[in-house]
Each structure stands twice: as structure tokens, then as C-alpha cells.
């Protein structure tokens, strides 16, 4: 039997590094807020001939839109984020770009949000994620109400959840810096779906721990947890795989509009599966066995 619980320090170390990287990235780069959150205009242009991003930037600057954020969406599509521009101006801009670049340019997707809507949406997004996490905590505490200290189970699941969401956000912070990827309402939607998925996995393992505790398969809690993880491993991996199959297909062949939304889901499935096996159940073991001190015993100054 694979000993997952015995390797928990390594998992904690890996996650701690990831979270640390995340804190650094977020405080240095931050996230690039999209039109949904700051307002302005997002236009998806399509060019009939191949166009380089640098070329487009040059033309945009010469047309007086030097402050535009430009993102290559592939397949001749470019996502451009501007200040408030009317749809008539957007069409004129496309025409001017087409003339300058010697091809046919069209506005495929025009999207205007006033800054006020953006501020509202951003606030709603924060509330949504917080409410979702709170509701999950209450739900798990209720679902495991017959266990001693059900709140502990809920808290462990929420720690894993926050960990998952944080890592996904980190990846988008890096993507924002490297490729100019912006976060929008669909990003939040993806995060909430990840919240549901991450907890879903954790609950399946917790459910097995609960069952195995009832069967008294071992007097050692760590051993019970480990058998539960191993017994449900097939399910965890296979469910992640079946979900990843369809998501990867969507990522590779689906439309440009939902490209990064699907990426959020893919990251969520991978990290959610990892955290349910390696984080939430492991924290539960540490907590139940009060091994907090031992976690850091390898550090030279802890002795």
C-alpha cells in the first residue's frame, strides 16, 4: 500500500512553496483586471491575414490607441482592451487597421462596461467566493456531524479549497505578466466551479474515512486515513482523467472566447485532485493527532 500519510511533509513543503511563490507573484505582478472589473471596452478583432502582435501594437499607437492592452488569442483573433470606445468607433478602428495592415479586419466581439458596473462586479465576485467557501464549511460540518469535532473536517476541506483557488490565481497572475491575460467574470465562474470540484473530491475521501472509522479497520487514525486515500485513489484519478479528457479537448479545439476559462477548470481539476489526496486529509491527520509541532521538527531551530 502506498504510504501517502507518511509523506505528508513533502506535500506540505511543495504546497508551501507554491503558496509562497503565489504570494510573491501576487504582490509583485498582481492580477490584470479585465473589462468586467474595471470597465472600458474589450474588442475582439479578426484579421484575414496573419498579423504580428508587435505590428498591431504599432498601428494601434499610430491611430492614437497607444494605451491599449493587446492579447493574441490565436487563429487571427486579437483581444484588445481600451478605454470607453463606442461600437461605431470600434468599427472605424477595424477599418483603419485593415487598411494599414493590408487585410480585412472585423470586430467580432464588442464589449463595453462602464467603470461602475466593473466595481460592482468585482465586489460581487469577492462576496461570491467568500459565501461559497462559508457555505461549504457549514455543509461539511453538517454532513460529518456524527464525527467527533465535525468543524475540523470542514476547516481542513476549506484550507485545501483556499490552497487550490490561490494556486490557480497565482498561475493567472503569472500569465497576466507573461501573456497579458486578464481576469474577468468567467474567471471567477471558473474559480467557483473549482471550489465545487475541490470540495467534491475531498468529501469523497472524507466519506471513506468516516466509513472506515465506523468499521474500526485500524486503531491508528493515520493508518485509517491512508487506507481511505488508497481505496479511493482509483476513483480520484479516474474521475480527474475523465473530466480532463473533455476539458483538454475544449482547451485545444474549443472557441477562443472560453480558452482561459477552460484553463481555470483544468488547473482546478489537477490541483483539486492533488489537494484532496495530499492536503485536506493530511491536515486532518495532523490536527487529530496534534502533531503540529512535529511538522517543523526537521527545522534546525525547532529543537
Amino acid at each position: 500500500m502506498i504510504d501517502f500519510v507518511g509523506k505528508k511533509r513533502w506535500f506540505f513543503l511543495a504546497s508551501a512553496i507554491a503558496v509562497l511563490v503565489g504570494i510573491v507573484c501576487l504582490s509583485v505582478f498582481g492580477l490584470k483586471p479585465g473589462t468586467d472589473f474595471v470597465g472600458g471596452t474589450a474588442i475582439t478583432f479578426h484579421f484575414s491575414e496573419p498579423v504580428e502582435q508587435s505590428q498591431l501594437r504599432e498601428e494601434m499607437t499610430s491611430l492614437g490607441y497607444g494605451d491599449a492592452m493587446i492579447q493574441n488569442a490565436g487563429g487571427g483573433y486579437f483581444l484588445v482592451h481600451l478605454g470607453e470606445v463606442s461600437s461605431a468607433e470600434a468599427n472605424d478602428l477595424a477599418e483603419a487597421l485593415g487598411t494599414e495592415l493590408g487585410c480585412e479586419a472585423t470586430v467580432e466581439d464588442y464589449y463595453l462596461a462602464s467603470p461602475r458596473v466593473g466595481a460592482d462586479t468585482a465586489w460581487d465576485a469577492v462576496i461570491a467566493v467568500a459565501v461559497a467557501a462559508g457555505a461549504m464549511l457549514v455543509y461539511i460540518a453538517w454532513a460529518f456531524r456524527r464525527m467527533p469535532k465535525p468543524f475540523r473536517w470542514g476547516t481542513c476541506a476549506i484550507i485545501a479549497l483556499v490552497h487550490d483557488v490561490f494556486i490557480v490565481v497565482t498561475v493567472f497572475s503569472i500569465l497576466g505578466q507573461v501573456a497579458g491575460v486578464e481576469v474577468d467574470a468567467m474567471f471567477i465562474t471558473g474559480l467557483l466551479a473549482v471550489v465545487g470540484y475541490s470540495i467534491n473530491n475531498t468529501v469523497v475521501i472524507f466519506d471513506r474515512i468516516r466509513e472506515n472509522m465506523g468499521k474500526h479497520i485500524s486503531s491508528d487514525f493515520a493508518e485509517t486515513v491512508n487506507s481511505s486515500i488508497v481505496e479511493t485513489l482509483g476513483r480520484s484519478v479516474n474521475t480527474a482523467l475523465t473530466t480532463l479528457f473533455v476539458l483538454l479537448a475544449l482547451f485545444l479545439f474549443g472557441g477562443v472566447t472560453i480558452h482561459y476559462f477552460v484553463l481555470v477548470l483544468i488547473l482546478g481539476v489537477v490541483i483539486g485532485t492533488y489537494s484532496s489526496i495530499c492536503i485536506s486529509s493530511q491536515i486532518l491527520v495532523v490536527w487529530e493527532k496534534r502533531q503540529w509541532g512535529q511538522l517543523f521538527s526537521w527545522l534546525p531551530f525547532a529543537k
Binding site: A88, Y110, V117, I188, E211, L241
Partner: protein
Amino acid sequence: MLIFILALFGFALWSIVPLDRDVFGRDGLMLGLDLKGGSYLVYEADLSEIAPDDRAEVMDGMKGVIERRINALGITEPIIQVQEQEGKHTIAIQLPGVSDVERAKELIGQVGILEFREQNEQGEWIPATGTVDGKELTLTSRYFKENTYVDLDQVGRPLLIFEWDETGRQLSEQITGRMIGKPLGIFLDDEPLRGEDGHPIAPIVRSVISSRGQIEGLSLADAQDLSTTLNYGRLPAQLGHWEEEDGSAVFIPEVPLYERTVDATLGADSVQKSLLAGAIGVALLLAFMISYYRVPGLIACLSLGVYGTLLLSIFKLFGITLTLPGVAAFILSLGMAVDANVLIFERMKEELRAGRTPGAAVEAGFNRAWTAIRDSNITTFIACLVLFWFGGALGAFMVRGFAITLFIGVALSMFTAIVVTRTFLRLILGRRVALRPSAYGVSE
């Protein structure tokens, strides 16, 4: 149970069969504007001149005006919603398949006015004008008192009764005085007002109309709508949006609060790519399930087929609009729908390894996996509910499509895993092939 499933499947299949015919019409799946192209506009109205108690009614009147104007453009199935959030009144307009957004916006932005016209020598309708206090004025519903109502004549035909204010009375006396025996054209926002019979309403002036007038020939519903529109829709409530400037609210006319316009080509491209991605993803999924779980895997695939058909059928029967995130949720839910099956099959394998007979393993697999399926899916429901609320925010209208699809999908997947897969599995338990553990991917 099998008969029930087959009947349900048959019904679902029958309901979605004309999927290709007229996909964009009433009978097909309702596609959101991100899939078929179109425009979504959200405006705020400048209601600062209107008493707070009357505002909701004013907005309803505006909705009527806008509906009429959009219909005049020939746009099918526009959806117009009036909302109030934190004291701000908004009107959200969905224009699926609109090609000329600029014209639509222009038409929507006008203030609703009923105008009376006369014919010139060439037979063209020109505004009927008169002079009051030295100014030349056009005879319009601007000079109606706000007490327009609908009445019935002796034989039960609806009449729209209106009353002129002082300026209107003077104008009307002048105009109808010189127009006796001639037709008086009635136009609503530049379109002739049409009666129940579909013909423009242009009554012949028989006598001077001074204080009160009536319009005949409208259907009862139209007369009532028009009465509402005239009483409230013509109020000078401009459309635009509010902005904060130096701590005070400033109204910016004509510019919407929110606008999204997707070109039909991008929509068609999205549909095509999603179909391709869905096909590849599902093919991989099916191949994996069959190669890993063998006979039960095949059964899971069959029940996935039932699942997909039922989900499409629900979409169609309840008229749920399919958006691109909705399509993503549909494809995602296919992957997740397998989860319940995987939970059950993994449990069955464990029971088989523990030495049970396939029959006992199937039953134990279902019974023991149930709590995990139930508890874990509830978390997805919670996420969907939160998403649905979040999707109510203006900027996030596409989010709801995802939330609804995922919610229905997960609920339905529990049903297909527990009822459909189980029935199919019980059905094959009698066959010899089902008696070998290798049929379940467990070595003997």
C-alpha cells in the same frame, strides 16, 4: 424500470430530433447571442425628474415603447427586462441576430411619442402643425394629459380615450378644423399605428376635436399597451447611464451602461469548435471507460448517451438559452457525469476483489457509493447556487448559463448513474459474460 427508462429516453429523443431543422428558431435549442450573434444592451434611465413612486411604472412604459420599436426592426425574439438595483433602474435588452446595432441603438434611444400627421399633395405623411403663442408646434402625444385610458363602445370595440392639455387643445382645434373630411395619420415613433386588422389607423376627421379624442380600431391588448406607453413611455426619461464624477452622479445620455455585441461569424465559429471539441473529448472519455472498466464501462457509455439526450431535451422543453459557457458546462458535465459511475464501479471492483459474486458486488457497489455521490454532489450544487446569484450582476450575464447547465447536469447525472446504469447492469447480470470478474476489469 427498463420500460420507464426506454420511454423517457424515447420521449427525450423525440423532443430533440428536429435539432438541425431551424436550430435558431422557436422549435430548436435557444442559442445565446454569443453563439448566434447579436447584441445585449443595458441602459439606465434618467428618472431624476420623476417621483420615486412612479418610477417603476415609468420603466414598464419604456419597456413597451422599446419592444414596439425593436419589433419594427424585424428582430425576432428580443428579450427586454426591467430591473431595479439599489435605487437604480435599468433596462436590459437582448437583440439576438441583430445585424445593424447602430440603427437599433438609435431607435431604442428615442423618446416615445405618438405623432399626428396629414398628407401633402404627393400623398406623403407630414407632421400636422399649428401655431400656439406664435410658435409652430407639431401635434403629438406630448400634449396629452396623463390620463389616457381604454373604453369599449356600444358594440364592445375598444376605444383609446385621450384628453388634450391647453396647448394640445389649441393645436387640435386649428388642425382638425382645417382637416375636416381628410384622413389624420397616427404615428408611433415614426411607424404608422396599426389596428387590429393590420392596417394603419388614419381616421377621417369628421368634426373639430377640442378637448377629448378617441382612437378606434385597435385590438384591446394593443389599446391597453398603448395607453400605458402614452401615459408613461413618452415621459422625457432619457436612456444612458450614471457615472460618479467628483462625488456626484452625472448622467451620460445615449451611452449604455453595458454593451456586448457578438458577430454572427464568431458565434458560428464557437458553435463549430465546441462541437468538435465535444466530439473529441467524449470519444476519449468513452474509449477510456470501455478499456478500463470493460462491460460496466460500456454500460456507463450507454447511460451517458441517455444522460446527454435527457439534458438536451430539458434544455429544449424548458427553453433554456444555451450560451458558450453553457456549452462548456455541458461538456464538463459529461466528464463529471461519469464520476458517479466511476464511484460505483470502483466500489464494485473492491467488492469483487473481496470475493463477492458479480451480482452481490453490483448491489453493494450501488448502495455503498450512494453517500459519497450524494454528499460530494451537494458541494457542486452550492457552488452553482452562488454562481447563479453572482451571474445576476450586470456584467456577468453569461455566468448564469454556466451555473444553470452545471446544476441541471449534476442533478441529472445522479439520476442516470443510480437509475439508468443500475438497470442496465442488472439486465446483463443474467448473461454468462457478466459472471466473470474479468468482465469488470478485475483479474481472476
